[in-house]
């Protein structure tokens, strides 16, 4: 066994990206500065490598992919290939040691909340942030389901989109390993995303919050027109408030999630109170400051049962640099002093 299989989120940080992937490393970073992140653990990148190696999946998948070669850049071909690989991986045994450790961690997480089998979310976490490329499974309960979805996350490395993308980048022969994050499930009354800078204009003085009813997947996958709030990061004043038509929501079911209509009377009601909104922006500012002022794209959720402020959770954060193609390299990160920023720019030039 070449590396540690299980890490708790509370013990990792950004230095562990190569062990637990970016998503989980950043979650650990947020826990470090006492931000509300649902507790959980990670199956490391080496767990994935270990599985691929020992089960013989790697050899089988690679020879299959290289036989298809450049055809894979075609999305239809990639889809067929993805389905095939998915079946291959699903049939492989997870090495005993990984099973045991994953089960032990799951048991411990359950015990921490005094339940036998705690419902969790299972999310893939790659070394690079690839929003939307990998899979997420919600409301997973019990040992068998957990192992099933861990394998699904591993297989998501070979999703059709991932295969096609890698083929276009001529990365076919490599399989970027993936970690799997397992966290206590948050049954969200509402959820959404928060940008610590305006994603359109790049204005870093405001935070933009988008919110919908139910689980965050509704907003993240653009299934609804969310509520949209613009909040001044300095004064925390709400500068803009646009209530969306939230016709559907994603809710948790015994077998995962389901899209469901939102009752008429709730469709055009703001799903966040001002108090919750301000709290979210305050937390987001801490995240951004901690990540050296780099604007963040944060997923959040408000628990349906807990009381404010315990109800607020941060589910994920990642830098949004790519979301601002017109953002200037000169712009001052929030929290930086004027002189400090000017000198930063000067120094940066000395290394060109």
């Amino acid at each position: 066994m070449s590396g540690r299989v299980v890490f708790w989120l509370r013990e990792v940080g950004r230095e562990d990206i190569n062990q637990v992937g970016q998503k989980c490393a950043f979650l650990g970073e947020m826990i470090r500065i006492s931000l509300p992140v649902p507790p959980g653990f990670v199956l490391s990148l080496s767990a994935f490598d270990n599985f691929m190696e020992k089960s013989g999946a790697r050899e089988e998948v690679l020879s299959y992919l290289s036989s298809l070669g450049e055809k894979l850049s075609d999305l239809q071909q990639a889809e067929a290939a993805s389905r095939h690989i998915y079946d291959v991986i699903k049939k492989k045994e997870i090495p005993e040691e990984i099973c045991q450790q994953a089960e032990a961690a799951y048991r411990r997480l359950s015990q921490e909340f005094g339940v036998a089998e705690i419902p969790v979310s299972v999310r893939s976490s790659g070394q690079e942030s690839n929003p939307g490329l990998f899979d997420t499974y919600l409301n997973v309960k019990g040992r068998g389901a957990l192992l099933h979805y861990i394998r699904s996350c591993w297989a998501s490395v070979f999703s059709a989109r991932a295969i096609a993308t890698r083929a276009r980048k001529r990365l076919v022969a490599q399989t970027a390993p993936i970690a799997v994050g397992i966290q206590k499930m948050v049954y969200a009354r509402c959820a959404g995303v928060l940008f610590t800078a305006d994603p359109v204009s790049g204005d870093p003085s405001v935070a933009v919050v988008e919110a919908g009813w139910g689980l965050g997947e509704g907003v993240a996958q653009a299934k609804v027109t969310p509520d949209r709030f613009i909040v001044s990061k300095q004064t925390l004043g709400i500068k803009e408030r646009r209530i969306g038509e939230k016709t559907v929501q994603v809710i948790a079911t015994e077998q995962g999630t389901r899209v469901e209509p939102v009752p008429q009377r709730e469709q055009d009601v703001p799903c966040l109170s001002d108090e919750e909104l301000i709290r979210l922006v305050e937390l987001a500012k801490k995240v951004e400051l901690h990540f050296r002022g780099v604007p963040q794209d944060i997923e959040w959720a408000v628990d349906a049962e807990l009381l404010f402020p315990e109800s607020i959770f941060l589910m994920q954060t990642r830098p949004v640099v790519r979301a601002f193609p017109r953002r200037s390299a000169f712009d001052k990160p929030p929290g930086k002093g004027d002189t400090e920023h000017i000198v930063d720019l000067l120094i940066e030039r000395f290394y060109r």
């Binding site: 204009s201 790049g202 204005d203 870093p204 003085s205 200037s328 390299a329 000169f330 712009d331 001052k332 004027d338 002189t339 400090e340 920023h341 000017i342 000198v343 720019l345 000067l346 120094i347 030039r349 000395f350 290394y351």
Partner: protein
């Protein structure tokens, strides 16, 4: 380009005369054409290369310039050549960064205090030097005085480079920001509008001279100026009551000379009398102003320029996102200071310091001449400091032969122009030489002493192309000014054509319609003063002085950077 045989020095020899070995020590040496053309006398050349070398190295180290340890300097027959000393080790660059950061943050936050302290240190020393009696003190005291003044000049150069490096970093960063984000650089008219409408210590002198010309009219003295040759005006004035009043009243001529007379006609040379010794050049300027008449040009245009500048500031700021304007305003202010500093500093640094150096060395020259060790007091400019010092206490070495050989050599090398702009390994590849210079990140070289390459706008079908340095268009007659001796020839409405200009020439700017130079960049003297006087300036044309002739009618476009010859007389 001249080969090594042409520049090999003889006659004068000191440790900073370019040797064969020096030549190979750097990929390229760059001519300081902004200051050392025409070539200098030996004493000045020596003090320039020693002072600048020390000052640049000291300043770059104490600031921690990450990629440059300063500039090395050598002399070749009265001309200065320089080369940046690069820091090439990445790790070392990183180590220097911390010092640089600390210095620059402090510099940005406390600029006014820092500059105030520098001015105070300089003026305190100068006041002490000024009261020293150079003519009547015993020789050993004069020796000590000479030593002190020449030593202090090293401190002056150190502070000079320290201020320049710091400010020009900020100037260049702001330019880069404007270029990348707005497509504006230091050759754009909008940039020039942004960088003018500021007062400085040299304009104070010009305004005072103008005031003196107005007072002469009020006191009915204009005929005294008109009817006497420049050198006879002051004695003639002393003979009348009104003239005495003009000389001695508050803000009168004598007060002006006490305050602003510590300047040499060519700021960077010891071979001409300072105004405190001979105020005739000031009289000449007043005569030229009287001939022109009207209000003082600078004051008349000042309000308009300030308004234009404030407008340009608003325009530029409005093109940046609201959230960025705070620090951009701070950076813009710092960049604007670089322009003001360039002119202000001449008063506090070169003008007074060089006048005092000349005064001390000239006093030694007088004593040597009295003992027939040199022919005349002014011959001191052909001696090096050590030669002067060892002949003050005791006075007994006959330097007449040495001086006459050096004088002949000086006259000979003054005719040897133009000098190669680049020498050394990269001299045949100007682009590579430019890259080497830019690698140092030395902004002073890029903005003043060497300047940058011109991209000729050939579609204009002009006769000369340069870099725009002050916007506007003017038509006028060429007046070639190759040294301060030519200044008196300038007539109102002419266009000054030269290799470079010196801050001692500032008072003629109100008379000019435009300026065309062989060399220069956006922070050169002519560029800054031209912008303040709102006349078009084109710099870095390379060959204006060889292509243009006195009296030719030309059209100067300081917005596009081009010159057309309209007629030959």
């Amino acid at each position: 380009m001249n080969g090594p045989a042409d520049w090999r020095p003889h006659q004068v020899n000191h440790s900073l005369v370019m040797s064969e070995q020096d030549l190979e020590a750097y990929p390229c040496w760059y001519l300081d054409e902004a200051h050392s053309v025409p070539p200098w006398t030996p004493l000045f050349a020596w003090s320039w290369v020693h002072g600048n070398r020390y000052g640049d190295l000291w300043a770059a180290e104490s600031i921690g310039l990450p990629r440059c340890r300063g500039t090395d300097w050598r002399e070749i027959d009265g001309c200065a050549y320089m080369s940046p000393v690069l820091v090439t080790d990445k790790e070392e660059v990183r180590q220097r960064e911390a010092k640089f950061r600390e210095h620059l943050e402090n510099f940005l936050r406390n600029y006014d205090h820092i500059w105030g302290d520098v001015v105070q240190e300089l003026t305190a020393h100068y006041s002490e030097f000024k009261v020293f009696d150079v003519d009547n003190s015993p020789s050993y005291k004069l020796y000590d005085h000479l030593e002190q003044v020449f030593n202090f000049s090293l401190r002056v150069w150190a502070l000079h480079s320290w201020m320049m490096y710091s400010l020009y970093e900020l100037y260049a960063l702001f330019e880069e920001l404007c270029r990348e984000q707005l497509g504006i650089d230091d050759t754009s008219s909008q940039w020039h509008r942004l960088m003018r409408g500021f007062d400085n210590k040299l304009f104070e002198a010009d305004r005072w001279l103008w005031h003196l010309s107005q007072r002469a009219v009020e006191l009915g003295l204009d005929s005294v100026f008109r009817d006497n040759p420049d050198g006879q005006v002051l004695p003639a004035l002393e003979e009348t009551e009104a003239g005495e009043k003009w000389l001695n009243e508050r803000r009168g001529f004598r007060e002006f000379i006490r305050e602003h007379g510590w300047r040499l006609p060519r700021i960077v040379e010891f071979n001409c009398k300072a105004w405190v010794e001979d105020p005739t050049p000031a009289v000449s300027f007043i005569k030229q102003y009287l001939a022109k008449g009207g209000d003082f040009e600078l004051d008349a245009r000042r309000k308009e320029l300030v308004k234009q500048r404030e407008q340009a500031e608003q325009e530029i700021l409005s093109r940046f996102p609201q959230s960025e304007r705070g620090w951009i305003t701070m950076l813009m202010t710092a960049a604007q200071r670089a322009g003001c500093f360039s002119e202000d500093h001449t008063f506090y640094f070169e003008q007074t310091c060089h006048s005092l150096m000349r005064r001390a060395a000239l006093a030694c020259g007088k004593r040597m001449a009295a003992k027939n060790l040199i022919e005349e007091p002014e011959d001191f400019v052909y001696l090096l400091p050590d030669e002067i010092k060892k002949n003050i206490v005791p006075l007994r070495l006959d330097y007449r032969r040495l001086v006459s050989e050096r004088k002949r050599h000086y006259q000979e090398y003054c005719r040897r122009l133009p000098r190669p702009a680049l020498i050394g390994e990269l001299s045949n590849d100007p682009e590579a030489a430019m890259r080497h210079m830019l690698a140092s990140g030395d902004k002073v070289m890029a903005k003043i002493t060497v300047g940058r390459a011109v991209k000729p706008k050939t579609e204009l079908r002009a006769d000369l192309y340069g870099n725009p340095a002050s916007p506007g268009v003017a038509i006028g007659s060429v007046r070639l000014i190759l040294s301060e001796a030519d200044i008196v020839n300038i007539r109102p409405g002419e266009i000054l054509v030269g290799v470079t200009t010196y801050s001692g020439w500032t008072p003629v700017f109100p008379l000019l319609k435009g300026i065309v130079l062989d060399r220069g960049a956006s922070l050169s003297h002519a560029a800054i003063v031209g912008r303040e006087y709102d006349i078009p300036v084109v710099v870095q044309t390379g060959k204006a002085t060889s292509k243009l002739k006195d009296g030719q009618k030309i059209r100067v476009d300081g917005t596009k950077g081009a010159v057309w010859i309209l007629s030959n007389n």
